[in-house]
Symmetry: none
Subunit: 219 residues, 4 copies
Amino acid sequence: MTQYESLKELIMLDANEEAKFSEKQLKIIEAAIEIFSEKGFAATSTNEIAKKAGVAEGTIFRHYKTKKELLVSIVSPLMAKLLGPHFAKDFANEVFELKYETFEEFIRNLASNRYEFIKKHIAVVKILIQEISYHKELKEPYVRLFKEHVYEKFKNIILHFQKKGEIVDESPDTIMRLIITTIMGTLVSLFLVLPDNEWDTESELESTIQFLINGLSVK
Amino acid sequence: MTQYESLKELIMLDANEEAKFSEKQLKIIEAAIEIFSEKGFAATSTNEIAKKAGVAEGTIFRHYKTKKELLVSIVSPLMAKLLGPHFAKDFANEVFELKYETFEEFIRNLASNRYEFIKKHIAVVKILIQEISYHKELKEPYVRLFKEHVYEKFKNIILHFQKKGEIVDESPDTIMRLIITTIMGTLVSLFLVLPDNEWDTESELESTIQFLINGLSVK
Amino acid sequence: MTQYESLKELIMLDANEEAKFSEKQLKIIEAAIEIFSEKGFAATSTNEIAKKAGVAEGTIFRHYKTKKELLVSIVSPLMAKLLGPHFAKDFANEVFELKYETFEEFIRNLASNRYEFIKKHIAVVKILIQEISYHKELKEPYVRLFKEHVYEKFKNIILHFQKKGEIVDESPDTIMRLIITTIMGTLVSLFLVLPDNEWDTESELESTIQFLINGLSVK
Amino acid sequence: MTQYESLKELIMLDANEEAKFSEKQLKIIEAAIEIFSEKGFAATSTNEIAKKAGVAEGTIFRHYKTKKELLVSIVSPLMAKLLGPHFAKDFANEVFELKYETFEEFIRNLASNRYEFIKKHIAVVKILIQEISYHKELKEPYVRLFKEHVYEKFKNIILHFQKKGEIVDESPDTIMRLIITTIMGTLVSLFLVLPDNEWDTESELESTIQFLINGLSVK
DNA sequence: TATGAATGAGCGTTCATTCAT
DNA sequence: TATGAATGAACGCTCATTCAT
């Protein structure tokens, strides 16, 4: 249940300055996250959410005009965070590249940041992954944000390490895709596809990082 | 529309020997695949399927007791195929390992087989990925099949190439996970997450195979 | 209950040629008319209609997409009929005027036609009067039909009898308004405002016709 | 907006002596009148009224126990006024008849009084007309008041002018009905049915009075 | 085999009303 | 006095499923 504590924090960060969430509203969000991630958005009824949250069904609609608005309000702050620290909008490009001395340092930083975050917010991440392709409201801002703020910076880092001769001379787009696929794929495998298996997640992450560096470095 | 042609083949293979599917039933399957993959199982109504298929709503329930049965009947043959040729139940272990002379040959074969298959049946694959975690009926036989018939053989192959010194000395489970993650992650990326981008999918697949071999081989 | 028999006829005239109304649908219309006219459209619940009609609530929505569509389907054929026989669209203007030899004949015909009709369909007339100002779907075609097909012909009749010196030399618009107001007002009074009083409706109608002719004729 | 000014006056007269209406309460009444007359009582939500009035929803129920009580409090003072000055309860019969020297004077006075009043309070009149048949609370006192205080006096006036030979020898009930129907029908036509048409309402009223006198007077 | 009208449970949402503040 | 969060019954409507034809 401690993960829900942290989800409250996540969502409350969105309402910066004042945390203006009533207790009932937090109960609703908590219940919605739990059931959405278990059964999927479309298969979850507002009646079910209300019961689990211990509120009247009408109370949900006092806070969110529609069920979909509830979904968006849960998932949106997560999306911002996922594209978060490394690619902050106001971050200067030129400085950025210099931040990491080696490609390994970059990958290690990227992966472990995402690892901690996803581990904490695994239920919301599952909702995001499941629902993003069905709801334009979720997909469009995410895609735009990536294109406008993340893509160029990410590409520059790759070019930087290619110039330094640290990584293979593939198309940056392909390398970017392989990095994201490998890290995200691993996290999804560990937390969503095979959550019951008793993985030593930390050591799996380490292996994945090694694999990634090995796979992209010039021999 | 040619992909639906091939889907009919896929499903008809399940009803081996006699292909006892009426034209109406094929229309239903076709329509269901299209809408399920677009909107998700729970958000698709049988009325919608019936309309798109050009049949009466009752006709669906003449062929499938429930809506879920329709889903299972669409997705199940695909699952069998996905775990398919390489790991067929009646395939002798000892022979199997000998089939591939190098690790690269194994990976290349595994990846390109899955690539062709998924490309053909992308809509059903999407349904499978989206729905598998919500329906025990889909997940359990898949997991059992993997554990009972695929896991050991796959592990043996890995051990075989580790003994030969071709690949790194990691835990076979981890290596298996990295292989599956990388191949599936790539295919999902290319076909589902970024289907609009104009990837040269063949060359992306080649890069992925190179990356995988590079990442797992001893330097 | 015989009035509902005639309402079925009214509504079925709309679906000319084949009377394709199932028994259940007629029950729904019957129940809706009764409750709409008693409590008003907005205060009537579909659940209530279903119960009175002896059908499931879903059945209503199989025949009518929305509650409002049910209202429109009930009221629309009445509107056509109300502007009906005297002012049929395909009726030639020049012939029309000649139909009536005296103003009294015209008024008497107009009034008694409307009288019989409204008496038969009083419940639907009440619904029409109550709801027309709240629903554009009802008002607009009614107003257009009047302007395009009735107004000119009606005016010509008035001008005709003014030329003949039978009626006063007021503005035709005003005379038209007085005629409609007096006839409709009387019918509304007798059937809707004071339905419980034991009027001899036939003799009241006669008095009204006399009053109307008296009021408009030159002394 | 000036009409609402006058409505406040109207309603405040009901609370005679002390005008104990807070500003918020007046805002509520104002908003309720506007929306009730636009959409009808049943189709208006208290939430909507509260928003338009700029008060909290709870505030409405601090002043009125139910939504219906709000309706009654708006419409009731109007009803009293409508049966107003001519037929005041404490008015002596015998004096009354003498008040008017001619039938025309009576009609002219009756009509123009109602004309000014309805013009001022058209929105509330519309609510009254629309809702009176659905709510006993509105209908019953109105009917009783008419029967007990207005009917006899009105009848006496008619008999008085019949004896004088000024008007036709019809049943007084019928004549009363024709007078009320013609005046009310005209006012309803001008203000409610065809409010957009640019009538010269004053001259229409004059024509109506002439028509009424003409129609009822002996030739 | 196929239909499509009928069902009634359940859906997301709105409602008038209550009550702690 | 006024608020507005909370309520839960009721709303219009959709759903998967049934069944007589």
